[in-house]
Symmetry: C2
Subunit: 250 residues, 2 copies
C-alpha cells in the first residue's frame, strides 16, 4: 500500500490563496484532518473526502496531539491520500514536527506542502513591505509566552533585535505583550498594526506599541496578527491623519 | 481606465506552489514584469502577456529601481492588468515598497498577492518544522550584510536572539556569516542546513555552523537558503549517521 500523509498549508484564509498543489491534493484526498479554524470554503475543495476536525484547545495539548498522531497513522492504513490541513504554512507555528516524527517512526511516508502564512497576507492587506531598503533587513516571527519568566522570554529578545516583527496568536495578550516589549526597551512609539481576518476583508487597527491593548480591543475577536516596526510608520501616520481629518469634518 | 498593478508572489520555484490567485492573474495579464530568476515554466502561465525581464544586478540598484518604477507606471497607462512577478513573497526581501509608493504617488492602484517564501519550501523539503514545542518559538528571516560594521549588524543580533533562523541571499558569504555568528556567541556546533533550489528537487548540505563554508561549497551555485537552529539537530544527525554508514560499507 503506497499511502501518504500530506501536511498541507491552508494559507491565510482566502480560498484562492491556497497553492495549486494544495487544491489538487484536497480534490484527490480520501480523508482530510483539519484544524477548527479552517474556513468551510476551503474544506469544500475536498468534496470526496471525509472531513475530520481535530482542533486543539489550549491546556489539553499533549493528549490531543497523541490522539491526532494516532488517527493520522490509522488513516494511512485505510486510505491512499490522507491530507492533514493546517492554517498558514504547516511548519510555522503548526506543531507539525510531532506528526511528522510519529508517522515516520511508523513507516508512513509524509510530504509537506508549504503555504502562505498570515503575516504575508496581513502585510499584503496593508500594502506594506516587511523589509525595506535602509530600514529593515530582518523580520521576526514569534508567538508570545507572557508571564513565563526569564527562561521563556526569547520571543521578547527576538522582537527587540529584529527590525520588523510579526506576532502570532497574541490577541488575548495585547497588554502583556505591550508591557513586556516596552520594558525590554522597544520604544513605546513603535508603529503597530493589528490585522484581523487577513486576506478575508481584513479589519485593521493602527497605532503605537503603547496603544496595542486599545487597538486589539477595537477588533471583534477573529484571528489576529500583530505587526510592528518602523516599516509601518507611513501606514500608521496616514491612518492617523485620515482620522484627524474626519474629526475636523464633523 | 481601471488599470491595476498586481505585485504577485511567484513562490519558491515549483509551478504548483503558486497560489490559485497568482495563476489566474498571470493568465489574464497583458504584461508581466519579472525578476531574472523566475523559472520559464512559471512565465508560461502568462501566454497572452508581453514578458519584460527587469532583473537587478547588485551595485546598480537605485538607477534600475527607478527605471522599473517608471516602466510599471507607463504600463498601467496602456494595459488593464499589469503583473509585477517577484520570487517568493513580494513583501519579504522583494524591494516592493519603492514600487508600491511610486505607483500610489502616481494615482495607480496596486494590489499585493502574497506567496510562499523559500524558507517554507526549504523546511518542507527537509521535513523539519521551523518551530517546535519546547524548542523553538521564534524564527528570524534575515539577509546578511557582512563587513558592514556595527551599525549594520542587526541581522547578527536577530539570528542570535531567535530560536531558528532563515538566512536569504547568503550563498556567496558563507564564511563571513559563519564567522560573524560564532563571534557573536552562536555555538559553532549549531545545526545548519543549506538548501539549493528549494521545491525544485532541492540539493541539501547539512552540518554545523562552523562547517557552513564547506557546506555551501558542496552546492552548485543555484539559489540557496541557509537554515540554522536546534530544530535541525535530528535531521543533521541522521544525515551524518547515514554518511558514516556509507563510509563503513565501502
Amino acid at each position: 500500500m503506497s499511502a501518504k500523509v500530506y501536511l498541507v498549508g491552508g494559507g491565510p484564509g482566502a480560498v484562492d490563496l491556497l497553492t495549486v498543489r494544495a487544491v489538487r491534493l484536497l480534490a484527490e484526498a480520501e480523508i482530510v484532518f483539519h484544524d477548527a479554524l479552517v474556513p468551510q470554503a476551503i474544506l469544500a475543495l475536498a468534496p470526496r473526502a471525509e472531513k475530520v476536525a481535530v482542533g486543539k484547545r489550549s491546556g489539553r495539548h499533549s493528549t490531543a496531539q497523541h490522539f491526532i498522531n494516532k488517527r493520522l497513522a490509522d488513516a494511512a492504513q485505510q486510505h491512499r491520500i490522507v491530507v492533514r490541513l493546517k492554517g498558514g504554512d504547516p511548519l510555522l507555528f503548526g506543531r507539525a514536527q510531532e506528526e511528522i516524527d510519529y508517522l515516520r517512526a511508523h513507516g508512513i511516508a509524509v510530504e509537506v506542502v508549504p503555504g502562505v502564512t498570515a503575516a504575508f497576507a496581513a502585510s499584503a492587506d496593508l500594502g506594506v513591505s516587511l523589509t525595506q531598503r535602509g530600514l529593515a533587513r530582518s523580520v521576526a516571527f514569534v508567538t508570545p509566552r507572557v508571564g513565563a519568566g526569564e527562561a521563556d522570554s526569547t520571543w521578547v529578545q527576538t522582537v527587540l533585535a529584529a527590525d520588523t516583527a510579526a506576532i502570532y496568536m497574541g490577541a488575548g495578550e495585547a497588554l502583556a505583550i505591550s508591557q513586556a516589549l516596552i520594558k525590554g526597551g522597544k520604544p513605546a512609539a513603535t508603529p503597530v498594526a493589528v490585522i484581523e481576518n487577513a486576506s478575508l476583508g481584513a479589519a485593521v487597527a493602527r497605532g503605537t506599541l503603547a496603544e496595542l491593548p486599545q487597538l486589539a480591543a477595537q477588533l471583534s475577536g477573529g484571528p489576529v496578527l500583530i505587526l510592528l516596526g518602523e516599516v509601518l510608520r507611513n501606514a500608521v501616520s496616514a491612518a492617523q491623519r485620515a482620522k484627524a481629518r474626519r474629526r475636523l469634518a464633523r
